[in-house]
Each structure stands twice: as structure tokens, then as C-alpha cells.
Symmetry: C2
């Protein structure tokens, strides 16, 4: 593909990256995964996991790969969010970033530092540190998308572990919308949409009545309601 190199002179190509906003719920809060940058620009600053697209790599794969390399996180729900391409968003060169957002249950996320990143850590969404590039905007766009999808999809079910109780599911929704939800109405809804089924087991968790345990009927698909 020598033609590509020729074009660099006639028509310079921008760099293309993917950046991933990973959300999870842990410690009763919505949290976001960030990595600390090791090199310039924004050295030492927190940023989204992500990086340059390989020339023979799909966009989706690039997002999954960078996430895995930098944080050890794999196999989660990944959806393309939006593409950011302001001319001055990277001081080095022109960079087009295809942003993704990802959701996963807290338990599945085993962090480990990769080669590109000195460190990876979770931050509460409502207490983010200063971020590199335009990553603050990207995260807030992802959050808007997440919240708006709560209304008409089962996207929030991606935060659930393999098995769960209805109270745990309700708590996820309460954290996301930041408001209490009526227990009876919530259960009526959760059982009506046919996305969960009983495992038959009970879960004991303290000195009170044990809860029925459920699982998702289809872990790998989010459903659009109405």
C-alpha cells in the first residue's frame, strides 16, 4: 500500500484513535475507568483508555484491544458513541478520535497496568480529576447517552453480575437516575419485560429474609423497549 505514503505528501492524513469510556457501578456509585498518561502531551494527567488505530484493524477491534492492553479489561458491552475531530484537540498532530462507551459489572473488571499506561484506576463519575485532551467532553457525552438509553432499553442490565437479586437491579437504577424508585412498581416492570428468569436459588445476605436469585435470559443482547 505504497499509495498511502504518497498521499501523505499530497493529502496529509490525520491520525485516527479510539477512546473508550468504561462505566461500572461499584461502592454504590457510577464510576469511570481512567489511565494515567506516561508521556507527553498531558504527561501524568488522567485520560481515557485508547490509542491509535492499526492500519488493518477494525474500529471496534481497536477499541477492544486498547482497552485490554491498557487496563486488562475484556469482554464487555461496547458501543460506538461519537467521533470527535476538533482541529486542535491534540497538540501533536491532527487526531480524529472515534469514541466508544462500555459497560460492565464491577466484579469482572480486574485492573492491571499495561505498557502504554503507568496506572489505571476507577473514579466516581461525579468526582473526576482534570482530564487530558477533550476527554471530559467525551465522558459527558457518553453519560448523556447512557442516561437517555435507560428509558427505552435494557442497557443498565449490563452492569449486572451473572446472578443477582431484584433489589440489586433496583439499586443500579436508583444510582443511575440518582433518585429512589418504588419497589413494587419496579418489580412489576422488571418481571414484565421478560429479560430475567429465576435461578431457583435463594441468596442470604444478612439477618433478614433471603432474596430470590435471577439471571438474564440473554446476556449478550440489549433490548429496546416499547
Amino acid at each position: 500500500m505504497s499509495r498511502n505514503v504518497d498521499h501523505c505528501y499530497a493529502y496529509p492524513h490525520p491520525a485516527v484513535t479510539t477512546d473508550v469510556v468504561v462505566f461500572t457501578i461499584r461502592d454504590e456509585r457510577l464510576q469511570t475507568l481512567l489511565i494515567r498518561r506516561v508521556g507527553p502531551p498531558f504527561e501524568g494527567c488522567w485520560a481515557l483508555p485508547g490509542g491509535f488505530l492499526d492500519i488493518d484493524e477494525d474500529l471496534d477491534r481497536c477499541a477492544a484491544r486498547e482497552l485490554r492492553e491498557e487496563t486488562g479489561v475484556a469482554d464487555l458491552y461496547l458501543e460506538q458513541l461519537c467521533t470527535f475531530g476538533a482541529v486542535d484537540r491534540d497538540p501533536r498532530e491532527r487526531v480524529i478520535s472515534v469514541a466508544y462507551f462500555a459497560l460492565a459489572p464491577a466484579a469482572r473488571l480486574q485492573l492491571k497496568a499495561g505498557d502504554d499506561a503507568a496506572d489505571a484506576a476507577w473514579f466516581p463519575f461525579h468526582a473526576l480529576p482534570p482530564l487530558a485532551f477533550d476527554h471530559d467532553r467525551i465522558i459527558h457525552t457518553a453519560h448523556e447517552r447512557l442516561v437517555s438509553k435507560l428509558d427505552y432499553s435494557t442497557i443498565a442490565f449490563q452492569f449486572l453480575p451473572e446472578t443477582f437479586t431484584l433489589s440489586e437491579l433496583q439499586r443500579i437504577y436508583e444510582i443511575l437516575v440518582d433518585a429512589p424508585i418504588d419497589k413494587r412498581n419496579f418489580r412489576k416492570w422488571a418481571l414484565a419485560i421478560q429479560q430475567v428468569e429465576e435461578t431457583g436459588e435463594l441468596r442470604r445476605h444478612g439477618s433478614h429474609r433471603p432474596a430470590r436469585v435471577y439471571r438474564l435470559t440473554d446476556r449478550n443482547r440489549i433490548t429496546y423497549l416499547k
Copy 2:
């Protein structure tokens, strides 16, 4: 920015393009704007208007510019849709395409052939010719987005000319959802959402009672309902 050229050898950059799906309603049908390609690949084939991103140009501006250059169409509602980056979507080199979709009233769209395109023409959405690249997929993604936004936004109002009657507005919705709509319910809804105001004029159009003429309260914004 000589660094960019250096990178072409170490880390080859993909080309970045924008492609625009323009919808309008004319002749009682949803139609899409296509251009006929003058050079290879897909020479003579119909394709979406669009082209390569200038290195110092915003993505949005690129989409608007390519549209203007190739079709003479300007000043319409433009929204980023999705980014397509399959490895083999362009046989020449790796190309990442940031797709946009645009809506406009039929009257404002004066077509003229530009330099990149031999010809530009409208096609009914339900009778599209074979298309270059993955443009068929892009158009159908755009259509899905359009239809889903009908439910919760005033996006369809972008098809309206400066002034219009409620029957004309209703007709737009009927064409888009491809089903008849109850007149009284539609008018109740249209007047309740506070997006239109009477001009005070009447429009005579045939041998029957003249219709009240309306305009949008805010042409430049689409509103999200509920």
C-alpha cells in the same frame, strides 16, 4: 507539521472522509440525494456525497463543504450519524468515513453538479440504485436513526418550508411512518408541543376551505419531547 509525514512511515494513517445522507420529502415520498461517481473505484456508480477531510478542517465543516461542493446544497440540518471503518470498505486504501445525515425541505435544495461529481439526483428511499462502497449500509443506518427520532423529537419539522399548513405537516409524518394518522389527534399534538405559531395568513389551494398558515417558533433547533 512535518511530523505527520514522518508518521506515515512508522505508523501509516488511514484516510478520513465524511459522507452525508441527505433526506428530503418531495413528490409525496422520502428521497435521498446521490451523486454519480466520475472516477474509479465504482466509476459511474451512485454514491453518497462526501469526500476527504482537509487536515485543518473540522468534521462538521467537511461534511457541509463536500455537500455544498458536490450538490450546491447548503444550510441544512446536519447531525453526525456514525463512523464506518471496515478494513476493506475502500479498495484503494484504508478509509474511515464519518457519516452524517441531513434533512431539508424540498424547495431549498437546488441541485447543481460540482467538480467531483458528474451528476447529482434524488432517489426515492424505497427505490435506490446499487451504491458504491458500503453506502447502502450507511443510508439504512441513517434511515433507522431518522425513524427512531420521530418518536421523541421534532426532527421531522426540518422537512418543512418557511410556512406550512397543519395538513402539510401531517402529510410529512404520514409519509415517514408510512401509515395514515388521525387528523384530530395529530392537530391536538402539533399545537400542544409549542413548536409552531400561526402567521395569521390563510392559504388557498383548491376549491375548498383555505388553511391556516403556520411557521416554526424556532427553525434552528430540534426539540426533544417527553
